[in-house]
């Protein structure tokens, strides 16, 4: 569980109120994803919040370097890019050694440039983590039978007719449910990116 009292350490000075809001929204959406990402990389449970914290601080640190590019939602787009890079670096480091450590050593390691080849390979991994995370998030928003319909036809590769008979719903409702769930997964990913 996240320790609420560590939050103030992440508060960064942003002059623009809109950006401050964007930062708060970003944290709200991104932090749960990072926690899961860190946990799923095999980090021991007692280090999960620490490592997540380090990642968020790495993101926060770079905020000072931000310059508006003059286009819409510049801060938000920039923030997603930074977050993505920080997460990618983490994925690469994590592969080389089990990251249980925290503190400055970890941060320094985060700042070193990883190999380009690793970067590309991990890009797909990052996307994969996002999709899986988003799917878990939206699952609870739907009826059990709708989720089963989505899972059976999209993941297990069953035909709509078979799934309909198995779950006990109509074929038409399967078409509707699975598109709805897919659209929500995409929405969820967009909230983070």
């Amino acid at each position: 569980m996240r320790q609420p009292e560590t939050r103030p350490s992440l508060i960064i000075k942003l002059t623009d109120q809109r950006n401050e809001l964007a930062w708060a929204e970003f944290l709200c959406a991104y932090e749960p994803f990072l926690i899961q990402l860190v946990r799923r990389r095999g980090t021991p449970e007692r280090h999960v919040s620490d490592v997540t914290q380090q990642l968020l601080m790495a993101i926060a640190k770079t905020v000072e370097g931000w310059k508006p590019d003059g286009r819409e939602a510049s801060f938000r787009r920039w923030l997603s890019r930074v977050a993505r890079n920080v997460a990618l670096k983490y994925l690469i480091r994590e592969r080389r050694q089990i990251s249980g450590q925290g503190g400055t050593e970890f941060l320094q390691q985060m700042e070193r440039e990883p190999d380009l080849a690793d970067h590309e390979r991990q890009d797909g991994q990052y996307e994969h983590e996002l999709i899986v995370w988003a799917a878990e998030q939206v699952r609870g928003e739907f009826r059990e039978s709708s989720w089963k319909a989505f899972w059976a036809t999209q993941v297990e590769g069953k035909s709509v007719a078979d799934a309909a008979a198995e779950i006990g719903v109509s074929a038409g409702s399967i078409y509707m449910s699975r598109s709805r769930i897919f659209a929500r997964i995409r929405e969820k990913i967009d909230e983070v990116l």
Binding site: M1, R2, P4, C28, A29, P32, R39, R40, E127, H128, I131, V132, A135, E136, R139, G140, E141, F142, R143, E144, S146, W151, Q154, V155, E156, G157, S170, A171, G172, S173, Y175, M176, S177, S179, R180, F182, A183, R184, I185, R186
Partner: protein, 510 residues
């Protein structure tokens, strides 16, 4: 094709993606989709590019493959609901065991303060409910313990104890009392009497829609409980059938979980960004995340009444977001369609409670209670008690009002007609040789009977009598309603507040 009740409509498909269809639209689109390949494709295209579909499919397939065999945390994605419930129950027991001190009392699983804990009754969004026994006072109690993840947040703790203390101040037969609040320990908890009861939710699940008398009685008592809370400045925020307890053997409904919804909302929304529990009974202002006041509870009360009348909640959808959108945007299915036995006056009361705009609902829970009291009396003894004016159908109401306003004019007209008739009669009786004009035209008819004025005498007498009775009946209620409306903050007069048609109430006005 005969099954295709609707033609292809991409706007409808677009709306269906965000779960914004009405129930009828959803039904017909489901039928249509089963048959129409073009629409199946279009719906998928609208949901996202083929490339994105493939990515999601591949990612989840890959997860499924890598998770097969071992217990991977992602197994959750394919776990059945039953297993989750079982896991939840285990967690509740674990939690109780961790939290309790050992007890030497026979049959007890542990002890909190001076209470021997006998069993875990349930687990809700806010924590665990335990059944306990206080040996000194020889009474059974229910103990609600705030969940650990809420207890770590200082503001949630503060709010928990503040709201619990405020609720403890409400003394009302329709509010489950709070006996004590312990907010200083590791986990805050509150103690309530243990009641032999079932929740309204369980009752509706068990037997479906309720009898009219029960709907009115439970509605009345809930409104009374709410009025007592509102008088203390407390908004319940989570009025729903599961929070209305029905005592066994006694016709009494009691509200529980006052204000606690707030403590949970704050902590869980900031924690995860999602809404805890079912939002089905939320008001539109709650669903939008706006500020709420007592009138929000009135909307939820309307949803509860709807559920009692039909056996199903008014705003239903496939997803949480769909439910929230229905609450803010659409009218529920007409009560009459589901249960034709519900009288129209009750339907219009419920519809007014379910007005999207708080200002279009009743002024206060007290007003609602007063109306329900009258309605209940009428249903129990139709001869002795009339329905409140508010509940009379519009046409009859307007007609009675007109009659009452014009009673002197009408009386005078009646008197005039009677006098004329009398004069004519006397004149003819005294002077039968002189025929009336009508007799010239229709010589065969009996003149006395055909005289319209003379025939009207008993009718006018009866009408005058009815008017006097109506006046007598209406006087006490009118003065009462007058008082109620004066007290309520409603900026409009009772007359202008009446819906011209019930439907106008239900549409949100920008």
């Amino acid at each position: 094709m005969s099954l295709n009740r609707i033609s292809c409509d991409s706007e409808l498909l677009r709306l269906s993606l965000s779960d914004r269809l009405s129930e009828q639209q959803e039904e017909s689109l489901t039928l249509h989709l089963a048959e129409c390949v073009a629409c199946q494709r279009e719906l998928e295209r609208l949901a996202g590019q083929q490339n994105d579909w493939d990515k999601v499919r591949q990612a989840l397939r890959h997860e499924l493959e890598s998770s097969q065999g071992g217990e991977h945390d992602l197994q959750r994605l394919d776990r059945s609901a039953e297993r989750e419930v079982a896991a939840d129950e285990d967690a509740a027991v674990d939690f109780a065991v961790d939290f309790l001190e050992p007890s030497s009392a026979p049959g007890a699983i542990g002890r909190i303060g001076d209470i021997d804990i006998l069993e875990v009754i349930g687990r809700g969004g806010m924590g665990v409910v335990l059944k306990g026994y206080q040996p000194e006072l020889k009474r059974l109690v229910a103990v609600k313990v705030l969940a650990p993840h809420l207890a770590v947040s200082g503001s949630a703790r503060q709010r928990f104890s503040r709201e619990a203390q405020a609720t403890a101040a409400i003394m009302h037969p329709n509010v489950v009392p709070i006996l004590t609040v312990h907010s200083t320990g590791k986990l805050p908890f509150l103690v309530m009497p243990f009641l032999a009861c079932e929740s309204l939710h369980d009752r509706i699940v068990r037997q479906g829609a309720l009898e009219l008398v029960d709907i009115l009685r439970i509605g009345l008592q809930t409104a009374q409980g709410l009025a007592a809370a509102h008088a203390q400045g407390i908004v319940h925020r989570d009025v729903k059938p599961a929070n209305i307890l029905l005592e066994k053997g006694v016709d009494r409904a009691m509200l529980t979980d006052f204000g606690l919804a707030r403590a949970i909302d704050d902590a869980s929304i900031t924690r995860t960004g999602v809404i805890a529990g079912t939002p089905q009974y939320m008001s539109p202002e709650q669903a939008r995340g706006d500020a709420v006041d007592a009138r929000s509870d009135l909307f939820s009360l309307g949803s509860v009444l709807y559920t009692m009348a039909t056996g199903r909640s008014p705003f239903r959808a496939e997803s949480t977001y769909g439910i929230l959108r229905r609450i803010t945007d659409s009218r529920p299915r007409a009560i009459r369609e589901i249960n034709p036995g519900i009288p129209s006056w009750l339907i219009s009361l419920i519809e007014k409670l379910l007005a999207k705009q708080p200002s279009q609902r009743f002024g206060s829970a007290l007003d609602v209670a007063a109306l329900f009291e009258q309605c209940l009396a009428h249903v129990q003894q139709p001869a002795a008690a009339t329905l409140p004016d508010y509940c009379l159908p519009m046409r009859r109401k307007a007609w009675l009002k007109w009659l009452r306003r014009k009673r002197w004019t009408l009386g005078a007209m009646g008197l005039g007609a009677v006098s004329v008739a009398l004069l004519l009669f006397v004149f003819r009786f005294l002077n039968p040789a002189v025929p009336l004009q009508s007799e010239v035209a229709r010589p065969n008819e009996s003149t006395v009977r055909s005289s319209p004025s003379a025939a009207a005498i008993p009718e006018w007498n009866a009408t005058a009598q009815e008017l006097r009775e109506l006046d007598r009946d209406a006087a006490p209620f009118e003065s009462r309603v007058g008082r109620l409306w004066d007290r309520s903050s409603a900026p409009v007069s009772p007359e202008s507040n009446l819906p011209s048609t019930p439907s106008t109430d239900m549409e949100s006005k920008p």
